[in-house]
């Protein structure tokens, strides 16, 4: 029986907090510190030379823009999917719900292989697309397809629980007060799901930046054209150039981190804004 006067809901706060921090350090912080240490081994000029070479710049451009497009796709379709899954009851809903998580369970290399086979000129999709001049394999479209596949669960799974918990009474109240469907969505539903939606999109973006397994199979890997940053990191490793690999990884990590940070700030501001206007 926990002490009824305890301030904390969970017993043993000190111990559980300690274990959690230790775990995070072991699993996340130390590996990242080891990587930073590698970067720290090189001079500033060397770091700059490696991370700003034309080849690296081209790789950032292709990686960031593909991740951006993949995130846009997932934002729109993920939101729709979350909506359908929470608001409608139809046969096969549970199956659809389970399918959403599949990209997390499937080895990404398998996903890449499957996509490249589907989009080949003999594949199920490719045989219709290629005659119409749409080439997916070994182009940026392929990279976007692979990124979209591997990161869609983030948006759906972030928005879904919030939609489910949304108080139906609010919508009915808005309806009785004469609000149109569009007003209900923009004034009642959207403000509640926006923080979750944005955080889902950001996670999807960050995941796409680092995606390797699925993308290398479909990207074509042409330097300066379809070479993503994570492949360039892999190439530097194959040259036994650990420092250069770490430097490029640092850039990826930094961008992902800054994106997450910006979203957190945005979400905090948004929460305050909603509270004030309520």
């Amino acid at each position: 029986m926990a002490n009824p006067r305890s301030k904390h809901l969970l017993p043993g706060f000190g111990l559980t907090m300690g274990v959690s921090l230790f775990y995070i350090t072991l699993i996340i912080l130390l590996p990242i510190a080891a990587m930073l240490l590698k970067v720290g081994g090189m001079g500033w000029q060397e770091f700059w030379r490696i991370t700003s070479s034309p080849r690296a710049l081209a790789a950032y451009q292709i990686t960031f823009s593909s991740a951006f497009y993949a995130t846009i796709l997932n934002a729109l379709l993920g939101l729709l999917l979350a909506w359908v899954l929470t608001r409608y009851r139809f046969p096969g809903r549970r199956l659809l719900d389970a399918l959403v998580d599949l990209p997390f369970a499937l080895p990404t290399a398998v996903a890449g292989l499957v996509l490249v086979t589907l989009f080949a000129n003999t594949g199920w999709y490719g045989q219709f697309l290629e005659p119409n001049g749409i080439k997916v394999n070994y182009t940026q479209l392929g990279i976007i397809a692979a990124m979209t596949f591997t990161s869609i669960p983030f948006v759906v799974r972030s928005v879904q629980p919030v939609l489910e918990d949304l108080d139906a009474g609010l919508e009915s109240a808005a309806q009785t007060l004469g609000a149109s469907n569009w007003q209900i969505f923009t004034r009642v539903i959207w403000p509640s799901i926006m923080p979750a939606f944005i955080s889902g999109c950001v996670l999807s973006f960050a995941r796409s930046l680092g995606e390797f397994g699925a993308v290398v199979f479909i990207a074509g890997n042409l330097p300066g054209v379809t070479e993503i940053v994570s492949l360039l990191i892999y190439i530097r490793l194959d040259e036994y150039n650990y420092e250069a690999a770490a430097a490029l990884a640092f850039v990826l990590l930094l961008v992902a981190f800054l994106t997450l940070l910006a979203t957190n700030i945005l979400a905090a501001w948004q929460t305050r804004y909603v509270e004030r206007s309520a």
């Binding site: 074509g220 490793l237 194959d238 040259e239 150039n241």
Partner: protein
């Protein structure tokens, strides 16, 4: 508590007892497209070893690009032997203190039990009439080979094409680079390994010619059907050696040196050579080579030492970041 301590103490003693029995398994770390070759070698080696020594052994296989394998070993993959497709990656293991510096004198032919050369695989009837290196730079030819940055196989392709161009253009480096740039621009996709390139060419219909080791080319014709594909051996190519070495640091720690050495020796035995030749590798054993002579057309072979001044120089001049390869490769 006392009991717990006692148990812990006895567990420690047990763990500290030296292992007396020799291990009966070894791990062979090899390159990407050698999976079937070493499956066949192992199937021949295991009964022959058991017949000679009365011990049943296991040979485990690990396959990836050889640079990836070398890195894995440096970082702790306990491979007893390596069977690679290029020298520099074994040299990395020498630098890391895993392989002794004189490894190339430990086995015959600079520790290369068999060899091959970059050759071409084209679609049946050779519709684009691709017969030699010069054809790869033509505008109407799509060329498939893996990324030389991640595949030893493709490094041979790059060097072979360069060696041909050096002779063809009489050493004029501007023309050589122009030729190589054209070849690289003809590549629609760079797979990271040799097997991926074969798949892209054969199953996904990419390109008009696949360049890979002759061994893989001939096997692909056998596997995919002579009615679909045919092999083209260019007039001149580069000797591709497949160096092997014992990983001293691992075998000394595991006590598996004898088994490791027997395994690599077996690759040189007539039986081991026959298995390699059946899998389309050229071999040095004269009797076995004569047996399979009709499979391997005559070709003039240049070697890395003569054409490029050795692997150490090649690594530095061509394959390092910003080297000669990057100059023709990034130029998209």
């Amino acid at each position: 508590m006392k009991k717990l301590l006692a148990t812990a103490a006895s567990a420690l003693t047990l763990a500290a007892t030296p292992v007396l029995a020799q291990p009966t398994d070894i791990l062979n770390a090899s390159y990407d497209i050698a999976r079937e070759l070493f499956e066949a070698e192992n199937a021949a080696f295991i009964p022959s070893y058991e017949a000679a020594n009365g011990v049943a052994v296991t040979v485990n296989q690990s396959h990836a690009g050889t640079s990836t394998q070398a890195r894995a070993i440096l970082e702790g993959l306990p491979a007893d032997v390596v069977t690679f497709n290029q020298v520099p990656d074994i040299e990395r293991l020498v630098e890391g203190g895993f392989v002794s510096a004189d490894w190339q004198s430990e086995f015959a032919n600079s520790a290369s039990p068999f060899y091959s050369l970059p050759a071409f695989l084209v679609r049946a009837g050779n519709p684009k009439d691709i017969t030699d290196w010069g054809d790869l730079a033509r505008d109407d030819v799509g060329v498939i080979f893996p990324n030389p940055k991640t595949s030893g196989n493709a490094r041979y392709t790059y060097l072979a094409a360069r060696a041909w161009a050096d002779e063809e253009f009489d050493g004029d480096q501007a023309q050589v680079e122009d030729y190589l740039t054209k070849v690289f621009l003809n590549v629609p996709v760079f797979e990271t390994g040799g097997r991926g390139a074969t798949t892209a060419f054969a199953e996904r219909g990419q390109g008009d010619v696949l360049i890979t080791f002759e061994a893989e080319v001939l096997s692909a014709v056998e596997l995919l059907g002579a009615d679909q594909y045919e092999a083209v051996v260019p007039s001149v190519s580069l000797l591709a050696e497949f160096p092997v070495a014992i990983v001293d640091k691992v075998v000394d720690a595991r006590g598996s040196r004898d088994l490791a050495k027997s395994y690599l020796d077996f690759l040189y035995s007539p039986e081991g050579q026959r298995v390699a030749a059946e899998r389309n590798h050229r071999v040095n054993d004269d009797a076995v080579a004569a047996e399979f002579a009709d499979r391997f057309p005559d070709v003039r072979l240049v070697n890395v030492d003569d054409a490029f001044g050795g692997w150490a120089r090649v690594s530095e001049e061509h394959f390092a970041d910003g080297g000669l390869l990057d100059q023709v490769f990034v130029n998209q």
